[in-house]
């Protein structure tokens, strides 16, 4: 029953999680976590490359939501808030890794994706993921939001705090760069 509920809420969109908290659970943040955590963790994995960091980022986002829920004007914005928090958290993780690399303290770079994922993905997919990892951060974020979360340009613009035109042009540049990068692949 709980699984059915999760599927129903997931399909119905963010507002449904707020309108239909999971039976037996009085905790709205908990219900949101059950409905959206997996998707957000997957998104974060695509951005930071490893599951433990992705889970940390997503949990921080939910705890931030819990702390700031009273200041949220519209509950339907909770999921958008979470997405934006996760994006910010991923940027922080990547920045701290970059700092550690530049100070020559860290030699171990987490993979672009987890080992399990790599095993599942196959060489062609791995090549695509590598190419995505080489893109500038903003292009990578736009592509993940558009092609993994299937968000509209308007939603992406709201998450990233840019105009819809900027989203469209960034996505276009990202796709073109990927096509160039992958062009030599069979």
């Amino acid at each position: 029953m709980v699984t059915e509920h999760r599927e129903r809420v997931r399909d119905a969109g963010p507002a449904a999680a707020l309108a239909q908290p999971e039976p037996g659970s009085g905790d709205l943040v908990g219900a949101l976590y059950q409905c959206h955590a997996l998707r957000l963790i997957r998104m974060a994995v695509l951005l930071v490359g490893d599951q433990p960091s992705a889970e940390d980022v997503v949990q921080d986002a939910f705890l931030g939501l819990h702390r700031g829920l009273r200041r949220l004007d519209d509950p339907a914005n909770a999921v958008a808030y979470l997405r934006a928090s996760v994006l910010n958290g991923c940027r922080s993780v990547l920045r701290s890794r970059k700092r550690a690399r530049s100070s020559r303290l860290v030699t171990h770079d987490p993979p672009v994706w987890s080992a399990e994922s790599a095993a599942m993905a196959g060489e062609d997919r791995r090549e695509v993921l590598r190419a995505v990892a080489r893109l500038p951060r903003r292009q990578r974020e736009v592509l993940v939001l558009r092609y993994f979360l299937n968000l509209s340009d308007r939603e992406i613009a709201a998450d990233l705090g840019v105009s819809r035109g900027a989203v469209a042009s960034t996505a276009s540049r990202g796709r073109a760069a990927l096509a160039r990068d992958l062009g030599g692949q069979p």
Binding site: G26, D27, V29, G30, Y33, A37, L38, I41, R42, M43, V45, L46, D50, Q51, P52, S53, A54, D56, Q59, F62, L63, H66, R67, R71, D73, D74, P75, V93, S96, R97, A100, R104, L105, V106, T107, H108, P110, W113, S114, E116, S117, M120, A121, G122, D124, R125, R126, V128, L129, V132, L143, V144, Y147, F148, R175, A176, L178, A179, G183, Q185
Partner: protein, 416 residues
């Protein structure tokens, strides 16, 4: 390649990579600390969009003030009260007066999220090693610390006061001219990244005898080490008081002390050294005896200062003191001496040798082991030095959990 095909490949790759994260593999949301999970609200407040801000005085002044006050109280409790409470028993223990359990009631806190291990690289240079930060949950390496300098390699690591601050010992590579040990202090961030690496002013002559031959006190004031001179079999056990830089050292003629640990206040030091007099095969595995000494004793020959902890026969593979210094957790060879027997971890009164914590049989086969007790005193990490069976042990409940560290990345020494 046309853009439509690129989009298709992109969606396909994202979907496949995303599906590697399965619902069963993710952690549940931790309960937020410090306030109720869902504060009751009035009917008016329940209407979304209604103003939810509290009074200015409460939100902007009283709440932050209360938070700062609470933080200050916690800081005072941690720095002043807790060390006294934890340290209260060591003198009594050496005198044999107080029951060992009384002083370990303060054990608590969650298991550390990360542990730091010495990872041998095994590339040409036999001493080449990095420090790696491992996720205690997944066993994966989240970051590594480069060698601290040209020709220097990390040899051992110990936790310094918390699960976030560490001290590491580094020594020269094979054939180096200098025979010296350098110490470094560093912290790890909330995401496990090493930060604030700094070399300590104090060093030690010789090179550390073992990847477990470094310890630090939970109050962050003292480190202990065992080093061996490069030109002779003599070893040296020393303690450095970090605030005063005072060094006290004791000499050991022949054996190589290892598995060092300090009580929380740094007043007691335990080592494993020599032969424990156990079965021949236990000795062959590197089992020795556990010894205790006071760190404020006069320098000189170690044999005149330390005393043996009367543990059951069989030989000690590794040992670590509880924060209070009244209990010695020791891994001993278990059962009849054969190569398939397992190690056994138990807590013993340091004075009487009586078992005060139940025995736990450990998997992972025989061989040298390392034992790292978390600063809270509640959790221990057991790492067989020749296999990949790293285990997390809750010392209060006896619950064991395997940490899946892949074999090439198995730590040769660890701290958390």
């Amino acid at each position: 390649m046309d853009l439509a095909a690129t989009e298709l490949r992109l969606r396909d790759a994202f979907t496949a990579a995303g599906q590697a994260v399965t619902p069963d593999s993710i952690r549940s949301l931790p309960a937020p600390q410090g306030r109720p999970a869902w504060p009751p609200r009035s009917a008016r407040e329940r209407a979304w969009g209604a103003p939810r801000r509290g009074p200015w005085l409460r939100d902007q002044v009283l709440v932050p003030l209360a938070a700062v006050t609470a933080l200050a109280l916690v800081a005072v409790a941690v720095t002043v009260i807790a060390p006294r409470f934890l340290a209260g028993g060591h003198r009594a223990a050496t005198a044999g007066a107080a029951p060992a359990q009384q002083n370990d009631r303060a054990l608590g806190g969650p298991a550390p999220r990360y542990f730091v291990g010495v990872r041998l690289l095994g590339k040409g240079e036999p001493l080449a090693a990095l420090l790696s930060v491992y996720s205690a949950a997944s066993g994966r390496i989240v970051a590594s610390l480069r060698p601290p300098g040209r020709g220097r390699w990390f040899r051992a690591v110990a936790t310094l006061g918390s699960g976030r601050t560490f001290v590491a010992a580094a020594g020269p590579g094979t054939g180096a001219y200098r025979c010296h040990t350098w110490f470094y202090r560093f912290s790890i961030s909330s995401s496990g990244q090493p930060v604030n690496v700094a070399e300590l002013a104090a060093g030690a002559p010789g090179v550390v005898t073992d990847s477990t031959a470094l310890a630090a006190s939970a109050d962050g004031q003292m480190i202990a080490y065992a080093t061996q001179a490069c030109a002779s079999p003599a070893s040296r056990v020393g303690v450095i008081h970090l605030a005063t830089r005072k060094v006290t050292a004791w000499t050991v003629p022949r054996s190589k002390p290892r598995s060092l640990s300090l009580s929380a206040d740094g007043s007691l030091l335990s080592i494993v050294s020599g032969s424990g007099g156990g079965p021949a095969e236990a000795r062959a595995r590197g089992a020795g005896a556990a010894w205790i000494l006071r760190t404020d004793d006069q320098p000189g020959p170690l044999a005149r200062r330390y005393r043996k902890v009367p543990l059951p026969p069989g030989g000690v593979l590794a040992a670590a003191l509880s924060p209070s210094g009244t209990v010695l957790y020791a891994i001993t060879a278990n059962g009849p001496p054969n190569w398939h027997s397992l190690g056994k971890l138990a807590g013993y009164d340091v004075t009487t040798g009586a078992r005060v914590r139940p025995s736990r049989v450990l998997g992972g086969g025989v061989g040298p082991r390392g034992l790292a007790v978390a600063a809270s005193g509640r959790f221990a990490l057991v790492y067989p030095l020749r296999s990949d069976r790293v285990q997390e042990l809750n010392l209060a409940t006896g619950q064991q959990r395997s940490v899946p560290v892949a074999a090439p990345d198995t730590p040769a020494g660890a701290a958390w």
